[in-house]
């Protein structure tokens, strides 16, 4: 799946419009750098973020972390165009729902690889499942392009379309994790996810809650997850050890 032996435990989300923040990977040393064009970039900065992506991808790709770009589902075509430059390892596609969407994005990537002299077929696709359709069709989505190398449990708030916002334990989440895991293992893809609980995610996560989420993710069969804050990188690496 990967050419190097990078275990890809910690996928650090970096705001693509803020190159100083993005280069904090040198300090936090995630296994994977995820340059984000989605939620961590304010809408007014999206175009600026796209314009700076080529340089950022090259800088990061030349370093130790693998460079991925997370696109926005609604603007994924423009985002992929902005991301496909030397140094790119793959695209993180949040919220795919049908196989056709995945196939189409894979074909766009192929065209850009040809156009820009990148190695044909080398750019990976990581699918983050975020909806009932996505979880139900997980196998079809993962089979829709040979580029797919990982299947992840995406933003919990979007999976919550399936139910009310939980205050305690989100039991449905475990069912969705099971589904993503089974599909990923069946097809030889990396399963991405952690057993996040309400109040343990992103900016409000503590060291303890992050390590626990990652460790329990590992016990459940997952091998890495996204890190919403820089501090989570070390904690996630510890949990997935």
């Amino acid at each position: 799946m990967t050419k190097n032996m990078n275990p890809r435990r910690s996928w650090m989300i970096l705001p693509a419009h803020d190159s100083a923040a993005a280069m904090r990977i040198q300090e936090f040393k995630p296994d994977v750098a995820v340059l984000d064009l989605e939620y961590s970039v304010p809408p007014k900065s999206r175009e600026f973020a796209r314009s700076g992506l080529a340089a950022l991808v090259r800088r990061i790709g030349d370093g130790e972390a693998e460079a991925f770009v997370r696109v926005d589902r609604d603007t994924r075509w423009a985002d992929v165009r902005a991301a496909m430059h030397r140094g790119i390892k793959g695209i993180v596609f949040p919220g795919p729902e049908t196989a056709a969407e995945v196939t189409e994005l894979g074909e766009l990537i192929a065209a850009l690889e040809r156009e820009r002299g990148l190695e044909p077929g080398a750019t990976e696709l990581v699918l983050m499942l975020e909806s009932a359709q996505g979880f139900w069709n997980a196998d079809a989505l993962a089979k829709a392009s040979p580029r797919v190398t990982a299947l992840g449990v995406g933003r919990i708030d979007l999976t919550m379309r399936l139910g009310p916002v939980p205050q305690g334990e989100f039991r449905l989440y475990r069912f969705l994790m099971t589904r993503a895991l089974v599909a990923a293992r069946m097809l030889g893809k990396q399963p991405l996810g952690a057993l996040w609980r309400p109040g343990s995610r992103g900016g409000v996560a503590s060291k303890d809650s992050t390590v626990k989420a990652a460790r329990e993710g590992r016990l459940l069969g997952f091998t890495g997850c996204l890190c919403a804050t820089p501090e989570q990188v070390a904690w996630v690496n510890e949990g997935f050890r």
């Binding site: 475990r174 099971t178 895991l181 089974v182 599909a183 990923a184 293992r185 069946m186 016990l219 069969g221």
Partner: protein, 311 residues
């Protein structure tokens, strides 16, 4: 095949025995297992098929001595050759291991059609059970269960399935990691008129020789999850499974009372009657009758095995 309210098979305890065991007949006889699954080894550098063909008929007879149903465990990826070598009159069916999709079942079923015809076995009588130990077996479980009318049961091989899924269930988890997978397999098997076999966590994984009290509770949890029996990794599990995967004496007494009191209430023109503070109505009465039928069938199976032991 339609869904059944009660177990299709009274198959509470499944014991695996190798055909190479010189004590095969004695072990099977002494075990009181409802089902014996025969395992064989393909010895390299030999005509293993010829050897097995010569040995299987006697092994099947030996395994059946105590009144158990006899199955042969076959690897799905080499099913045709293994079925040819092992399927003989006297078995109830085969346990296919490593099935990843409907195709594996369809191929095995076609093979059994031919073997039934050539070896004097009633057409369509051999059952195909599936031991689930891969992610694909779980994901494709519905297609697998629907692939042949021969499909009978799913058995969850939890240690192998966990390895395949990259899971490392440990007691720090506050819940059962395979909960949803087990729920799926039980529901799918039942939806085609079959059933599922498995043990509850954590014994399902540790498979250790727990004390009788712990084992009893584990079997009750498994039964109340929807499993109708379990693979027994220790001979000591068999009796507890035989007693646990059926209505308990306490339940039988209670349901007898339910039926009697409800019948009395109906005569007095009532639609529901109270027992010990609970309201008894038609569905509870129906469940009571089903549980008694289940208990009777389990008892009949025990009597059948007892007769086999007298001979």
């Amino acid at each position: 095949m339609s869904e059944r309210l009660m177990p299709k098979y009274i198959r509470r305890s499944l014991l695996s025995l190798p055909i190479d065991d010189p004590q095969l007949g004695e072990q099977a006889f002494a075990s009181w297992a409802d089902a014996i699954i025969l395992d064989f080894v393909r010895k390299p550098g030999t005509d293993w098929q010829k050897e097995l063909r010569a040995r299987m008929p006697a092994a099947i007879v030996a395994a059946a001595r105590g009144g158990a149903e006899v199955f042969i465990r076959v690897n799905s990826d080499r099913a045709a050759a293994e079925l040819d070598a092992t399927v003989f009159s006297g078995i109830a069916g085969v346990v296919l291991k490593g099935v990843n999709g409907a195709e594996g079942i369809a191929q095995a079923s076609a093979r059994l059609d031919a073997l039934e015809a050539s070896r004097g076995i009633a057409a369509g009588s051999l059952e195909i059970d599936v031991e689930v130990n891969t992610a694909a077996g779980v994901w494709n479980s519905l297609e697998i269960a629907r692939a042949s009318r021969r499909f009978g049961t799913f058995t969850v091989n939890e240690p192998e399935l966990c390895r395949n899924l990259g899971m490392h269930p440990e007691p720090v988890l506050e819940f059962e990691a395979l909960e949803y997978i087990k729920s799926q397999l039980i529901t799918v098997a039942t939806s085609v008129g079959g059933q599922a076999q498995g043990m509850s966590y954590p014994l399902s994984l540790t498979q250790k020789n727990a004390g009788e009290e712990d084992l009893r509770k584990a079997v009750q949890r498994a039964r109340d999850t929807g499993f109708k029996g379990a693979a027994c990794h220790h001979a000591s599990w068999i009796q507890v499974c035989n007693e646990g995967f059926r209505p308990s004496p306490g339940e039988i007494a209670y349901y007898r009372k339910v039926i009697a009191v409800f019948a009395e209430g109906l005569k007095r023109g009532m639609a529901s009657v109270p027992i010990d503070g609970k309201m008894i109505d038609v569905p509870v009465d129906l469940r009571a009758k089903l549980y008694l039928e289940w208990a009777n069938r389990a008892q009949a199976r025990d009597d059948e095995k007892a007769r086999a032991h007298e001979q």
